[in-house]
Symmetry: C2
C-alpha cells in the first residue's frame, strides 16, 4: 500500500466531518504542515477538495460528479429504476434499492412517496445493517461462514425495542429470510416505520440487490403493508429477469 496516497486519502473522511485548515489537517494526519499542504494541493488539483474564502478546505465538487457517474454505471440501478417508479405509483409508499459492498449495505436509489422531501436524503448513506429489510436480504445470500464472521463483527444498536439484539438473533433472522425469500423490518429502526423487501437476483441466482417498501404505521398497518408483499416480490422478480438477461457490455 502506498503511504503517500494513503495519507492523502485519509484527508477526505477527515474533511467530510467539516471544513478544516492546514494546521488541523497536518495535525490529524500526523505529518508536517508542508507535507499536508502538498497533499491538499494535489487533491485540490483533482477537484476533490475545495478551498473556501477563509482558506479552510472542504470536500470538493468533483466528488459529486464522480459519485454521479459511478451510480449511473450501476446497471442494476439503471434497470430497476423504471420498475421502482411503477411500483411507487401503484402503492404510493417510499421505495428503496440497495446493494451490498465491502461489509456495507447502502441505498443506491429511492423513490419517495408524494412530494420529494429532502431529495438525496439517505442515498449513499450506509444502512442500519442489523435491522433493515434490504440488509437482511443481501446478507442472507452470503455463504454461511461469511455471514457468521460478519454477524460477529457487527454492533447491535437497539434503535427500538424491536431491533435485532445480538449476533445469534441476527443469524437466525438471516436464515429465515434466506428460506422464505423476503424480509421485513417491523419497527426495528424507527418505532413507527415498517418495511417489506424482496431480493433481486442475477443470472447465477445470487442476490445482487434488494428493494424495499417503507411506510409509517399511521398510514398503513403492518398487516396491510404485508398484503403488498406479492406485488413487491413480483416487481423484484421482473427486475431480476431483466437483469439476468442483460449481458454486461465489455
Amino acid at each position: 500500500m502506498s503511504q503517500t496516497v494513503d495519507r492523502a486519502l485519509s484527508i477526505l473522511p477527515l474533511l467530510a466531518q467539516g471544513p478544516a485548515d492546514l494546521g488541523q489537517v497536518a495535525e490529524r494526519l500526523g505529518v508536517h504542515k508542508s507535507t499536508a499542504l502538498r497533499l491538499l494541493r494535489t487533491l485540490h488539483d483533482h477537484g476533490l477538495v475545495y478551498r473556501q474564502q477563509d482558506q479552510r478546505y472542504r470536500l470538493g465538487a468533483r466528488l459529486f460528479a464522480l459519485a454521479q457517474e459511478a451510480v449511473e454505471n450501476l446497471d442494476v440501478r439503471e434497470i430497476a429504476h423504471p420498475h421502482l417508479i411503477t411500483l411507487n405509483e401503484q402503492i404510493g409508499h417510499t421505495v428503496h434499492l440497495a446493494v451490498y459492498e465491502e461489509s456495507e449495505v447502502l441505498y443506491i436509489d429511492k423513490v419517495e412517496s408524494r412530494y420529494p422531501v429532502r431529495m438525496y436524503s439517505r442515498i449513499g448513506k450506509p444502512v442500519a445493517i442489523t435491522v433493515a429489510a434490504v440488509a437482511k436480504l443481501l446478507l442472507a445470500d452470503l455463504p454461511e461462514s461469511e455471514r457468521r464472521v460478519i454477524a460477529e463483527k457487527l454492533d447491535y444498536p437497539m434503535y427500538t425495542s424491536r431491533s435485532t439484539p445480538n449476533a445469534a438473533a441476527f443469524l437466525k433472522e438471516l436464515a429465515a429470510v434466506r428460506e422464505q425469500g423476503w424480509a421485513t423490518d417491523l419497527g426495528g429502526h424507527e418505532e413507527s416505520i415498517n418495511c417489506i423487501g424482496a431480493p433481486i437476483r442475477g443470472a447465477a441466482g445470487r442476490v445482487v440487490a434488494a428493494m424495499s417498501v417503507s411506510a409509517p404505521n399511521v398510514v398503513v398497518t403492518a398487516e396491510e403493508l404485508l398484503s403488498l408483499l406479492p406485488l413487491v416480490r413480483r416487481t423484484a422478480d421482473v427486475i431480476s429477469r431483466e437483469y439476468s438477461g442483460s449481458v454486461t457490455p465489455h
Copy 2:
C-alpha cells in the same frame, strides 16, 4: 504536487467511465502494472474503488458516502431547501439550486415538478455554463477581470439557435444580468425549455448560489414564466437573508 497521489487520483475519473482491469488502468496511466496494482489497492483500502467478481475495478461505495457528507456540509443548500420546496408547491415547476466552484457551475439541489422522475438526475453534473440562468448569475458576480478570463476560455456550443454564440455575447449578457439582478435562459439549452433565475447572496453581498425555475413552453409560455419572476426573486431574497443571518460556526 505529489506524483504518486496525482496518479492515484487520475484513476478515479478513468473508472468513472466504466469498469477497467489492471492492465487497462496501467496502460492509461502510463505506468507499470505493479505500480497500478499498488495504487488501486490503496484506493481499495479506502473504499474508493471496488473490485467486482470479474476482478475488474469500478468506483466504490464510499464515494457516495463522501459526496453525501460533502453536500450536507453545504449550509446554503440546507437553508435553501425548504424554501425551494415551498416555491415548487406554489408554482409546480422544477426548481434548481446551483453553486460555482473551480470554474464549474453545478446543481446541488433540485425539486422536481410532480412526481420525482429520475432522482439524482442532474445533481452533481456540471451545468451548461454558457447558457444556464444559474450559471449567468454566478459568473456575473465575479470581478470583471476574472469574468473576462473565464469567458475567453469557454467553449460556446450551439445547443440551439438561441445559445450564447461567443465570449463577447456572453460577457454582454453577464453585464446585463449583473445589472438587473436576475437571469433567464429562453430556449438556449433545449429549444422548448425556458428558465428564470435569481441570485442568493451571502452577508458580504457576494453571490453564493443561484436558483432557477424551469418549465417547458408547452406548459407555460415564456411570458407566463417571466410573470413568476417576482415570486422567484422574493424567495431568493428570503434565502439570502436567512443565509446571511446564520453565522458559520467556528
